[in-house]
């Protein structure tokens, strides 16, 4: 199978280039990550992140034939040759397919991704009804792979000011949590022309999310709550 992989080592290369690889696959090679491991065996200078190899850790997010996704859960059979692999768009490249995710995590941390509750902790746990718990479905599953935020033009343009789909999904995850007491502060924090309202609902995030989540819907819910609070 033929691959064309983005290569860039800032210590050696003056600019990035695409390198072609021809890999003989074994019948057991089903996912793109399997092929990448074979490429790595051919050419150990190639750098990439990987860990769980089953779509849970979110390490091997990359741009695959122009679309962001996780290499470990992208089927080789579905890919058109030569498979073009590039780092996630919009983030600084450290080397080859490895990008600097600092800005992405900075935005994630800015929404205070933890439960805020000043009530004394009960003896066992803070209970929720099944219906209350259901509110978190489609929100808590995010693995922070950054596929969504790095496919969002608003995030490309204002990565330092726009929270991005991943961060906003996480923000709504805590707004929707009945155990969290900081809803009003969270809405105040997001009421900003950049932080929230740079989202123009083009839904690239929904299109690429490897976990099938819907950040656009979560962002819509945040706006709905703000409207409800205002009128």
């Amino acid at each position: 199978m033929r691959f064309s992989v983005y290569r860039y080592d800032p210590d050696k290369d003056s600019k990035p280039y695409m390198k072609d690889y021809e890999v003989a696959l074994e019948p057991s090679d089903r996912m793109l990550l399997d092929a990448l491991v074979r490429i790595k065996a051919l050419d150990d200078s190639l750098s990439l992140r990987r860990s769980c190899r089953e779509g849970v850790c979110g390490s091997d997010a990359m741009n695959i034939n122009g679309r962001n996704g996780l290499a470990c859960i992208t089927r080789l059979a579905d890919l058109k040759e030569p498979v073009e692999l590039r780092p996630l768009p919009g983030l600084p490249v450290i080397r080859d397919l490895v990008v600097d995710m600092s800005q992405f995590f900075k935005q994630y941390h800015s929404i205070k991704p933890y439960l805020q509750n000043t009530a004394p902790a009960p003896e066992k746990e803070r209970l929720q009804s099944p219906a209350e718990r259901e509110e978190l479905d489609g929100l808590y599953e995010c693995i922070l792979c950054a596929c969504c935020s790095t496919s969002c033009p608003s995030f490309w343009w204002n990565p330092d000011k726009f929270v991005g789909p991943a961060g906003l999904l996480a923000a709504y995850r805590f707004i929707a949590d009945t155990r969290d007491q900081a809803t009003s502060e969270r809405l105040d924090d997001l009421e900003d022309p950049y932080r929230l309202f740079r989202c123009h609902s083009i839904m690239n995030c929904v299109d690429v999310c490897p976990k099938g989540l819907n950040p656009t819907r979560a962002i819509g819910r945040i706006k709905e709550l703000m409207v409800k609070r205002m009128v």
């Binding site: 000011k161 022309p193 409207v227």
Partner: protein
């Protein structure tokens, strides 16, 4: 100099809502206008003038134009935020756009009510 990123202006919802409401006004007026052109066929100056001297038509047209200007303000402001980075220049341009749109609004009133 250290670049400081400041966010948290605590506005944005109103503009977002305004953009949606004005869009509905513009869409409604456009459909209305299309209906009038298709079914009433005001094909000459007299008929066209007769349409616009009616008070309800003047008000509807004014609402439409104000919606266009307000909608345009939110859009143009976003463009300026994206492409004009120095805050001073952006402020000057934004004030300029506001003044222009206010002038357009007043001019629209003058035009609509000068038809007699």
């Amino acid at each position: 100099m250290v670049k400081r990123v400041v966010v948290g202006a605590h506005y944005g919802l109103r503009d977002w809502l305004v953009q949606r409401v004005t869009a509905v006004v513009m869409a409604t007026y456009s459909v209305l206008m299309l209906g009038i052109v298709l079914f009433q066929r005001p094909g000459n100056y007299g008929l066209w003038k007769g349409l616009f001297v009616q008070q309800w038509m003047r008000l509807a047209s004014l609402l439409f134009l104000l919606s266009v200007f307000w909608h345009a303000w939110v859009g143009v402001r976003d463009i300026l935020m994206d492409y004009v980075k120095p805050a001073g220049v952006r402020l000057v341009l934004q004030v300029g756009v506001i003044l222009l749109l206010v002038a357009y609004s007043l001019w629209s009133i003058q035009i609509l009510w000068s038809i007699a």
